[in-house]
């Protein structure tokens, strides 16, 4: 459905997109994950022909995407990172205006606007102006303006930034519902939990290129880390630390502020082995955590830095 090949975009000396290539299939919720400045928004802007790019090709629905390919644009809905609505118009007027950029039949538009209002749960705010809406409701209005015309492809660029948890859940559920109704979704975010929760396939971006892509499980399998164990321990000597490093399946040990963090390859009984060792050394310990790898671990292992750096 979407084919991006070798996309290069430069801002002077800065390379924002470095030979980016992507393929997105119809019916997917495709997550574009990366830290701030990794090139997610630039990729979206190029995809929508809002930005000229230096090199590469973009095809959407089998057609080359150009600024005047209105047949393709007709089937795309966008929800931008910042709320893009008119402060002077009411909720209903805003949705009607943006829907009117795609749907010219007045009666059909009326139905779609009503449907979008119901979908985002703004029934009680039809005549309310955006300034009087809370942050979460405003985000919902922003989404309604982008999806009212029932597009085949919906691009959501960090739609949950600065949104309270309740509204965030409502928005994420809405996105999954849109996908069930037949829309393909491209979802950019730097919140790995969101991407992990809703996306069927994920591409991790850094420095303007895709460094890994696949389903969540596929991505997790790509890395060495199978389990991360954290132990609150008191006063470990260098010899004891070396013993721990020598335990089977342990490949990384970190000890700081009396907190011991071990990364182990995927295997059984890792936790039991470390606890046995601590007992054998008569070492007292507090809380113990064992976590399976997250996308943050994937990102950390691939790039050597935290996702939110």
């Amino acid at each position: 459905m979407i084919h991006i090949e070798n996309l290069v975009k430069r801002y002077g000396d800065l390379v924002a997109l470095n030979h980016l290539s992507l393929d997105i299939k119809e019916g997917e919720i495709f997550g574009l994950l990366g830290p701030n400045g990794s090139g997610k928004t630039t990729a979206i802007n190029c995809l929508l022909s809002l930005l000229k790019y230096d090199k590469g090709d973009i095809e959407i629905f089998g057609q080359k995407m150009t600024p005047d390919n209105y047949e393709v644009k007709q089937q795309i809905g966008i929800v931008l990172q910042n709320v893009a609505v008119f402060d002077e118009l009411t909720v209903s007027e805003n949705i009607d205006y943006f829907c009117g950029l795609y749907i010219h039949d007045k009666n059909r538009r009326k139905e779609l606007v009503e449907e979008a209002i119901r979908f985002v749960g703004l029934e009680d705010y039809r005549k309310t102006r955006p300034q009087k809406l809370s942050g979460g409701l405003l985000r919902r209005l922003n989404i309604a303006c982008g999806i009212a015309h029932k597009p085949r492809l919906i691009i959501l660029d960090e739609p949950t930034v600065a949104v309270d948890p309740q509204s965030r859940n409502k928005i994420l559920e809405g996105i999954q519902e849109l996908n069930r109704q037949g829309s393909t979704i491209i979802y950019t975010s730097h919140y790995m939990e969101e991407v992990e929760q809703i996306c069927t396939r994920i591409a991790i971006m850094d420095h303007g290129r895709v460094i890994a892509s696949g389903t969540t499980e596929e991505l997790k399998k790509m890395i060495k880390t199978g389990e991360t164990i954290t132990v609150e321990a008191l006063l470990l000597t260098e010899k004891q630390l070396q013993d721990i490093r020598n335990l089977p399946h342990v490949f990384d040990v970190h000890y700081e502020d009396q907190i011991l963090t071990l990364r182990c390859t995927g295997a059984q009984h890792n936790l039991i082995r470390i606890l046995n060792y601590l007992q054998s050394q008569n070492l007292t310990f507090g809380r113990v955590f064992s976590e399976l790898p997250t996308l943050n671990d994937v990102f950390l292992e691939i790039t050597g830095k935290q996702l939110r750096d």
Partner: protein, 382 residues
Amino acid sequence: MTVFKGYLKILKKNLGMLLIYLVIFFAIAIALQASARKEHLGTFEKTRINVAVADRDQSELSRGLIRYLSTIHNVSEISSEPSVMQEELFYRNTSYIVQIPENFYQTCIEEEEPLSVTKVPGSYTSFYVDQQISTWINSIRTYTAAGFSLKEAMDASMELPASEVTMYKGTENNLETPPYIYYFRYVPYLFLAVLSYSMGYVLLAFQKEDILKRMRASAVSLRRQNMEGLLAMFMLGAVLWLISVAGVCVLFGKEFLTSPLIGYYVLNTALMLGIALSLSYLVGIFVKNSNMLNGISNLLSLGMCFLCGTFVPMSIMNKSVLKIAQFLPVYWYESINETLAQYKTLPVPVAEEIWKSMGIEAMFIAAFVFMILAISKYKQQS
């Protein structure tokens, strides 16, 4: 026509402000019209002054003089006591006191002694009364010398012809200033204030970066979006122009509609509208927030109108200010109005001057449009 309707919807939210400007404009126009008419009448009104007469003679002749003066002024009789006369003058109950002596005929007609009068110092109207009394006495003297009886002389003197005043005009076509000239003088303020505010208000909404992005990603072409936006602006301008032309027709009716120069006034106003539209759009591109919009809108409308003779007639403005004002479009609009006000029909050289000024107005419009296109293109590319 979604974009067009969107512009109109946002303009509609601003309707209150537009109405306030229109009400203020028409209130000023009506007040100026009323004041202009009043001033016009006052300039040529024949005035009567208060004249007091202390008649010591109480003769037929002295009563004749009182009767004659009564036809021209408000005459009252007072005592010949000096203190009474001083008091009347001090309190300005009277402006001129005539003391008719005993033996009035003998003293003033035969022996030609002047009448004793007391008047408010420096009063120019007293000179007229001096002349009127002198003319009457000379007339009586002439009639009696010719053999007429005193009664016949007094009757004839009552019908003395009034002096005629002939007004000389500067040029053959120079007429009274038409009252609607004040209305047209204020039109630039209405256009600039309303358009710079309302267009800035709409552009402020549509020029937001994220709104622009959303619209550019939509299925309506950028060209069509621009055309629909411009159409909405032109419609606002056209409505404003129609209101202003309808306003002058309603307020001044036949006086304006029968003027042979009506076409020039209307065309000049249309050009002024073009200037206000293009300039307001140009300024609107740079507006970042509503506070800035208020400031720029006031600066543009009030500043330009003060400098270019909208609020103060050009004839009393400083020459160096007028030289600077020539770089502003409103100056040319106002100079055309000032010229039109002096003529009932235009001699060819004057008409040529007016067409030249209109050409300069058109060039201002072209320059503003060119700047809008250049800046818009630059903004799009960046």
